[in-house]
């Protein structure tokens, strides 16, 4: 362990570069001779394209090329279609949309790219796009999922007859409903889980060049790991993936959506090859609002039964997911694999019916965003527990305590097949209540009342599932000077892997942190089975990968040390960077040097100290980050404004590699969770599906003054299914904060008889409740 190893709050290695302007993001790269791309996007939510006149645009100053769908189709460029495979209960297969790179015959949402203009400068490309003439046949449009399910709703995909892409079910509805009907108490809730725009701070960029001699395209873009886009873009272009090199330099945030395939990448890569010149597309923020995938947008209905002691008897849950105009890569996986599997995870729910409908609308596609279904699932459960407490006459902490899955029951197999290895849910709740001074709350509430304010206290317990895809490859190469290069399949885009991975390696090889270099984000050097960073998987998948690779390094280095010390390797001991055989010693650095000199190696041993490990995780070995967050706030009843007074976070992220980094993940997740709860909302005009919240002026991003200081604590229960004991951290805050905040608002508004209030809980919504109008 030691001063620089696992568990230490090491300051980040990457920071000096980033605080001095030394970061290198995709738009910082300029290629000689590059041209600029602008995408002309649909102003209509739903319209047929009956004619396109590009003549004026083609003649505009600086314009080199103007391309439409047919140009890409002529080169065999394929449509994007999700590979999710679910069926309705009656066996009917999922109805999957096909999305062309540029619109074909019809546009289905505002912002859909229709024409690609390529010019000398960005301004010229934009100006030329204004000269494009399109004959539109406007069609009726629909924005919300509930409206799109109405029998007379406009149909986004006429070939599917209606907008229902899938109706998936689990469990026996009649049995569950009968149990609930026969229960001592039951509660019902209806929730609109608001659509969000993830908004990583770096807008999207793509820069591509083509080398005819090697018939190879190089694509620079911010991603969450280069292997995915390499495979995806190559597949759609119909080329071998070896013909596409993807490079992601510094990347300004991801939050899940950057891990999905974007069709602009395909267009830009295709254009570079087509015209034989480098091309760059830099999106504006206004453009990312209508072209980055959106998050959440679920409508939930649930009924939960309780026995006379407040124990859950059964849960009936229904989710409607708005997938947008085109089903995203993850689409139904979000509520089913992401959210649904988590619903029966915090609490012992033995009887469960779950229905998921995915619905097409004339909106941007929804896909993975921080938590990807788990925040929605946890919010649903926590609202039910608060309502259950009221119905059963129990305190909100007590009803949770009575229903938590107890550590003694673990490993616990849930109704949806997950195996929860560890967690102390009640312990985290108790710790949070103590740190938040629950006992002192009544007095603080009185004090607020005396000032004419409403004070509330909200509990957000949560469990989520991390680890993501079960494969990851890491490689460690020891150089002749004894320093190390880590080649990672994961991709740090803010998480601090440079530092955390060096700490893991330090524990094994005792290398100074500055002698460990992280090499990532280039398909020429990224391990072949690298996957990337999403689903809070890197500490587990990357961390364990590095640990095992380091162990391989030590095995080989020990053999070399034995040879150098003329000793049986079995007798050689490695301790704090030095190999010992009796009294004879050789340092790791000396062994590294010898490893690169064939003359100094045992006979038949290949030179070098260069190992890799493909970590194939067992199907049951996810990890389950969990914890309890508590929000205490005050409402001004005259204005409906809310001030967060105290925010307490207790997290079980398993073994903590670096508390500074893990707390950072928690703070960031909480801010996105509070953003959803207080401010953020994506608004479409219902009649026309016009997009109304298209900039930072219209969309409520959380700012420093909206947030409160977060007091964060750990209740560490090491994960039992990976040898580092780590659990994910990135999505915890986003899972916990919405229920803690909304629970506190509802608690504060108790005098007004409120049982639920939908997010975002804006001052207007609160004011309407207080004024006696519908929220």
């Amino acid at each position: 362990m030691g001063q620089f190893g696992i568990g230490q709050p090491i300051r980040r290695k990457e920071d000096v570069r980033l605080v001095t302007g030394g970061g290198r993001y995709s738009d910082d790269i300029q290629l000689e001779n590059q041209l600029h791309i602008h995408f002309f996007r649909s102003p209509h939510a739903h319209a047929g394209i009956s004619g396109i006149d590009l003549s004026a645009a083609r003649e505009a100053p600086g314009v080199h090329h103007v391309f439409v769908h047919e140009d890409l189709a002529a080169d065999g460029v394929q449509d994007l279609m999700t590979d999710v495979d679910f069926s309705d209960r009656d066996g009917t297969k999922i109805r999957r949309s096909r999305r062309p790179v540029l619109a074909r015959e019809r546009v289905r949402f505002v912002g859909e790219p229709v024409v690609m203009v390529i010019a000398e400068t960005r301004e010229q490309a934009r100006a030329a796009a204004d000269l494009i003439q399109i004959e539109w046949e406007e069609l009726p449009a629909v924005a919300s999922s509930v409206a799109a399910l109405a029998p007379d709703a406009p149909v986004v995909w006429p070939e599917f007859d209606n907008n229902l892409g899938l109706h998936w079910e689990l469990g026996d509805k009649d049995e569950i409903d009968a149990i609930i009907a026969g229960s001592a108490k039951s509660v019902t809730i209806d929730i609109v889980n608001n659509r969000l725009i993830p908004n990583p701070m770096e807008p999207r960029v793509a820069l591509a060049e083509y080398d005819a001699a090697s018939d190879r395209i190089t694509l620079y873009a911010p991603t969450q790991g280069v292997r995915g886009p390499q495979a995806g873009v190559a597949r759609l272009l119909g080329i071998k993936k070896e013909q596409l090199r993807v490079i992601s330099p510094d990347t300004g945030g991801g939050f899940g959506i950057r891990g999905k395939l974007y069709l602009e990448l395909v267009a830009v890569a295709w254009a570079a090859r087509k015209i034989g010149r480098p091309v760059k597309w830099l999106s504006t923020r206004s453009e990312t609002f209508v072209s980055d995938y959106h998050g959440r947008d679920q409508v939930n209905h649930a009924v939960m039964g309780f026995d006379e002691t407040g124990r859950i008897t059964a849960l009936h849950a229904e989710t409607i997911l708005n997938v947008g105009a085109y089903m995203g890569e993850n689409g139904p996986r979000l509520p089913i694999d992401g959210g649904g599997r988590i619903i029966p995870c915090s609490y012992d729910i033995e009887k469960f019916y779950f229905s998921v409908k995915t619905v097409y609308t004339n909106t941007v596609s929804t896909d993975t965003y921080r938590g990807a279904g788990r925040p929605e699932a946890n919010f649903l459960l926590e609202r039910l527990m608060d309502l259950g407490a009221e119905a059963c006459g129990l305190a909100r902490d007590e009803i949770r305590r009575r229903n938590f899955i107890a550590p003694a029951k673990m490993p616990y197999r849930t109704q949806m097949g997950l195996l929860i290895d560890s967690g102390d849910f009640a312990g985290s709740l108790d710790m949070a209540l103590k740190e938040a001074d629950y006992a002192g709350f009544p007095a603080r509430r009185k004090e607020s009342e005396a000032r004419g304010k409403l004070r509330g206290f909200g509990i957000g317990s949560f469990v989520e599932q991390s680890g993501g895809r079960p494969v990851e490859e890491m490689r460690v190469r020891i150089e002749a000077d004894g320093s190390a290069s880590i080649f990672s399949g994961t991709f740090s885009h803010g998480q601090g892997h440079d530092t955390a991975y060096a700490q893991i390696l330090h524990d094994h090889l005792n290398l100074p942190l500055e002698q460990v270099k992280l090499i990532q984000g280039d398909t020429d050097t990224t391990p072949a089975q690298g996957v990337g960073t999403f689903g809070s998987r890197s500490s587990m998948m990357g961390g364990v990968g590095i640990k095992r690779t380091a162990e391989q390094i030590v095995v080989k280095a020990t053999r070399i040390a034995g040879h150098l010390l003329q000793s049986d390797p079995e007798q050689v001991r490695f301790d704090e960077g030095v190999f010992h055989a009796g009294h004879a010693t050789v340092t790791f650095k000396e062994v590294a040097k010898a490893a690169h000199d064939p003359a100094r190696l045992p006979e038949g041993m290949a030179p070098g100290l260069d190992e890799n490990w493909v970590y194939n995780r067992h199907a049951d070995h996810f990890n389950f980050p969990n914890g309890c967050h508590i929000c205490e706030l005050e409402i001004d009843p005259d204005l409906g404004t809310v001030e967060i007074l105290r925010y307490t976070a207790v997290d079980d992220c398993g073994t903590v590699l670096n508390p500074l980094l893990v707390h950072g993940q928690v703070y960031g997740g909480v801010a996105q969770g509070l953003g959803q709860a207080m401010l953020e909302n994506t608004v479409y005009e219902e009649e026309t599906a016009q997009f109304l919240s298209g900039s930072f002026v219209d969309y409520g991003m959380p700012r420093a003054h909206h947030m409160a200081h977060i007091a964060a604590y750990f209740n560490v229960v090491p994960c039992k299914t990976n040898e580092l004991g780590v659990k994910g951290a990135g999505e915890a805050g986003a899972c916990a904060a919405p229920s803690a905040f909304v629970g506190a608002v509802v608690d504060a508004l108790k005098p007004y008889g409120v049982s639920h209030i939908d997010m975002p809980v804006t001052p207007e919504r609160i004011w309407r409740v207080i004024a006696g109008q519908a929220a």
Binding site: P9, R11, R12, E14, D15, V16, L18, V19, T20, G21, G22, G23, R24, Y25, D27, D28, Q30, P198, N199, P200, M201, E202, P203, D250, T251, G252, G253, F255, T284, R285, S286, H493, G494, Q495, G496, P659, L660, L661, H663, G664, Y667, G668, G669, V670, A671, Q672, S695, F696, V697, M701, R703, A704, H705, M707, H709, I710, G733
Partner: protein, 157 residues
């Protein structure tokens, strides 16, 4: 049109279009890519630089307006010997950055705040950061870093 100004201590003279924004000028003409552009509505603050000692969103001024001005960008904030500005050092110490994209603007704004508010309290710093967006950190490390750099005692991990 011709414009002459000082950037990070060096005299600069360039021919520019009258509609060239300072952010664009720094990034594209001078290749000082530490200044970032995160939006097109002057809401995010990623592009903040110092103009004559004041924090300014460089996406909101034309370079043609700045004849004779003294500009400092994130690349010019540290001392000539590479010594980090106290705000830069505090950002590392208090984990005030994750992806690093908003960081140049945050640091330049922070340097402006500490100059105007010695021993700044939390409320002041949060209020002063109204024009800067960060999506990664929840602002906690940023607020603590700026408070610390202003001389306020802040507990650290």
């Amino acid at each position: 049109m011709k414009v002459s100004l000082t950037v990070n201590g060096a005299a600069v003279e360039r021919d520019v279009e009258p509609n060239t924004l300072l952010a664009e000028f720094l990034r594209e003409n001078l290749r000082l890519t530490g200044t970032h552009v995160g939006c097109d509505t002057t809401q995010c603050g990623c592009c903040i630089v110092h103009v004559d000692g004041h924090a300014v969103k460089s996406c909101t001024v034309f370079v043609a307006q700045l004849g004779g001005a003294d500009i400092v960008t994130i690349e010019g904030l540290a001392g000539p010997d590479g010594q980090l500005h106290p705000v830069q050092a505090a950002f590392q110490e208090f984990h005030g950055l994750q992806c690093g994209f908003c960081t140049p603007g945050m640091v330049m704004m922070g340097a402006d705040i500490v100059k105007r508010h010695p021993c700044a309290d939390e409320k002041t710093v949060r209020h002063e950061l109204e024009g800067n967006l960060c999506r990664c950190t929840g602002y906690q490390g940023i607020v603590e870093a700026i408070m610390h750099a202003s001389g306020t005692k802040v507990e650290t991990h």
